[in-house]
């Protein structure tokens, strides 16, 4: 039998139910993989092996008693943005050093109720602000993938870089993640994993550290489309504690997988063909179109004229909301406190030492665009442009069922390569941010390798609350692309 860490989440679930192996065995296999590999990757910032083994023991009892939940005994990693009861949660920020929640986020509670096992907390960009996982107070995550013939450390993408790297390196079967401008889909593309950001309102945000509340949405990162369908099915659902979570039944996503794309109308938005787009991205996109055509989909050229304004509008809306959300970190009630000569100085000292450079930049931009005299020119303007972006999609979705686009403008880049220029870093999210601005679901599926030998992804964007079509189309793409090679294991020590 192959190693237990090599299994997909679906295969592990089935094997656990069939008692081919125990939750204890598969959990131990993952703890061992983390022991050996995490130092090099820095994906986990807090492994919790004792807790994992206790949860596995309880899963094994439930399986033996015929009372196994849908994820009984399945070991998962949790992004450090999710509050976990009695387990340190910091959003990878110095300002939340040592914060131990006394409550559990709704999404993680849903996972534990389904029998899943927590392996630990995963690294991410500070307050999920970043596209490379380089802004974490715990240091960068290293992508398990390397360029062919090179040992230059690459970024795993961000902000859910720890989640993506842990899934790609088989340090968990799946991981939770969050996506405000692309933070699930961009790292998925850069690590050869599957990531779905569901429709805004599909998952509860309760207990997730807030970045930009009108954009934030949680979702899974997994090694195949089926695993993402299984995990999202457990994570999603209405929650009375989050008034923006929608009271709609959660469909059986796994059942949707075999649906195929015969007759499905797939839109190709011409505005995503950006000037200066690398040829390999263009080729990958064309390949995706051919695969879908071959599977019986109907390809249609469409136009979303306001696409190019989504990213600049996002960089007004998201920092504005962040500056407001992060006002709570004041060094008074909890978290870091750096003393000062008066209360204002204590606030200023605390926030200046507690927040990293990128978070400070965004808080300052947000403060500026919300300040007297600039509110209408920036914030209100961006909110109006957001309306136009949403209307673009509404019109296009009268004619097509789903859109196909590249996920990112390029493959994984080297640590430090883009960290000196904020705008260049922001451009990573150029194809993903539109789905956040309009609240629509988007999935990234690995579709091939770059000429450097690193993964590339394609994205489907769907109608609101139509994640099923994304899974159907994603499965067809995954089948057509065939299995990508796994990254060679350079990170494990003997």
């Amino acid at each position: 039998m192959s190693k237990l860490t090599d299994l997909t989440l679906a295969a592990a679930r089935d094997g656990l139910r069939a008692r081919d192996f125990s939750a204890n065995e598969i959990t131990k296999a993952h703890i061992d993989a983390i022991d050996k590999g995490n130092e090099a990757l820095n994906a986990y910032i807090l492994p919790v092996p004792d807790m994992a083994l206790r949860m596995a023991e309880s899963a094994d009892k439930n399986i033996a008693g015929g009372d196994a939940g849908p994820l009984a005994g399945v070991p998962l990693g949790i992004k450090d943005l999710f509050c976990t009861k009695d387990v340190r949660t910091t959003a990878c920020s110095h300002i939340l050093d040592g914060f131990i929640p006394t409550y559990e986020s709704t999404i993680t509670q849903n996972l534990w109720d389904a029998g899943a096992v927590m392996l630990g907390k995963l690294n991410c960009d500070e307050f999920a602000m970043g596209s490379s996982n380089e802004t974490s107070t715990y240091g960068p995550v290293i992508n398990p993938w390397r360029r062919e013939g090179s040992s230059t450390p690459l970024v795993p993408g961000g902000s859910s870089g720890g989640s993506a790297a842990a899934v790609a390196a088989k340090l968990c079967l799946g991981a939770t993640a969050t996506d405000t401008g692309g933070s699930i889909r961009q790292p998925a593309a850069l690590t050869g994993t599957v990531g779905i950001k569901p429709t805004y309102g599909r998952c509860s945000r309760w207990g997730i550290v807030a970045f930009a509340s009108s954009l934030d949405q949680a979702g899974p990162l997994t090694r195949c489309v089926r695993d993402a369908a299984i995990m999202l099915g457990v994570m999603a659902g209405h929650d009375p504690k989050d008034s923006t979570s929608v009271d709609l039944p959660v469909p059986d996503y796994e059942a949707a997988l075999g649906g195929g794309v015969k007759g499905l109308k797939v839109g190709i938005p011409k505005e995503y063909r950006m000037e200066g787009m690398p040829e390999e991205i263009e080729k990958l996109w064309q390949q995706g179109i051919e695969w879908l055509k071959g599977a019986g989909a109907q390809i249609m050229d469409v136009s979303l004229p306001y696409t190019r304004y989504a990213l600049p509008a996002y960089y007004i809306v998201a920092p504005a909301e962040a500056s407001s959300n992060l006002a709570r970190y004041d060094g008074v009630r909890y978290g870091l406190r750096v003393p000062g000569d008066d209360i204002i100085e204590q606030y200023e000292n605390t926030r200046s030492e507690g927040f990293g450079a990128e978070v400070q930049r965004r808080v300052l931009i947000g403060t500026y665009v919300l300040s007297a005299g600039y509110y209408d020119a920036y914030y209100l303007k961006a909110q109006k442009v957001r309306t136009l972006i949403k209307q673009d999609f509404e019109q296009v979705f009268e004619d097509v069922d789903v859109l196909l686009t590249p996920t990112t403008p390029g493959p994984a880049f080297a640590i430090g390569e883009k960290s000196d220029n904020p705008i260049e870093m922001y451009l990573n999210d150029i194809f993903t941010v539109t789905a956040n601005m309009s609240g629509l679901p988007g999935i990234s599926v690995p579709a091939g390798l770059s000429r450097e030998g690193t993964p590339l992804g394609l994205q489907f964007i769907g109608k609101a609350f139509d994640e099923e079509t994304l899974f159907r189309a994603g499965q067809v793409l995954e089948d057509a692309a065939g299995e990508l090679p796994s990254p060679a294991d350079w990170w494990s020590v003997a």
Partner: protein
């Protein structure tokens, strides 16, 4: 919009973030670059467009106005930076504010 030194310091004060001279200088050019980049939105005609703050069309749900949580001071104080009895506390400065 070009951000000058006084504006950086004004925003930093509003945001309650201390910036030293070197940071203020870096921020001046970084914030200017970001704001000039977002100003491409001025190309868009938004005269008859309503602003959108939430993508969900449905109105907020209401519930019975009753207590559903609380009575857990120990939980709330567990992460207090500093505490005094049943309260979280911070240094006293009231005499300096007047």
């Amino acid at each position: 919009m070009k951000i000058d030194d006084a504006t950086v310091r004004h925003i930093a004060r509003l945001a309650r973030i201390r910036v030293d001279d070197a940071q203020a200088k870096t921020l001046q050019s970084e914030l200017t670059a970001i704001l000039q980049w977002v100003e491409q939105l001025n190309e868009v005609d938004t005269r008859r467009v309503e602003p959108m703050s939430c993508v969900i069309d449905t109105p907020l749900t209401m519930r019975e106005d009753e207590v559903t949580d609380g009575g857990t001071p120990q939980d709330i104080l567990k992460n207090a930076t500093e505490r005094a009895g049943r309260f979280s506390s911070c240094p006293r400065w009231w005499n300096r504010l007047v």
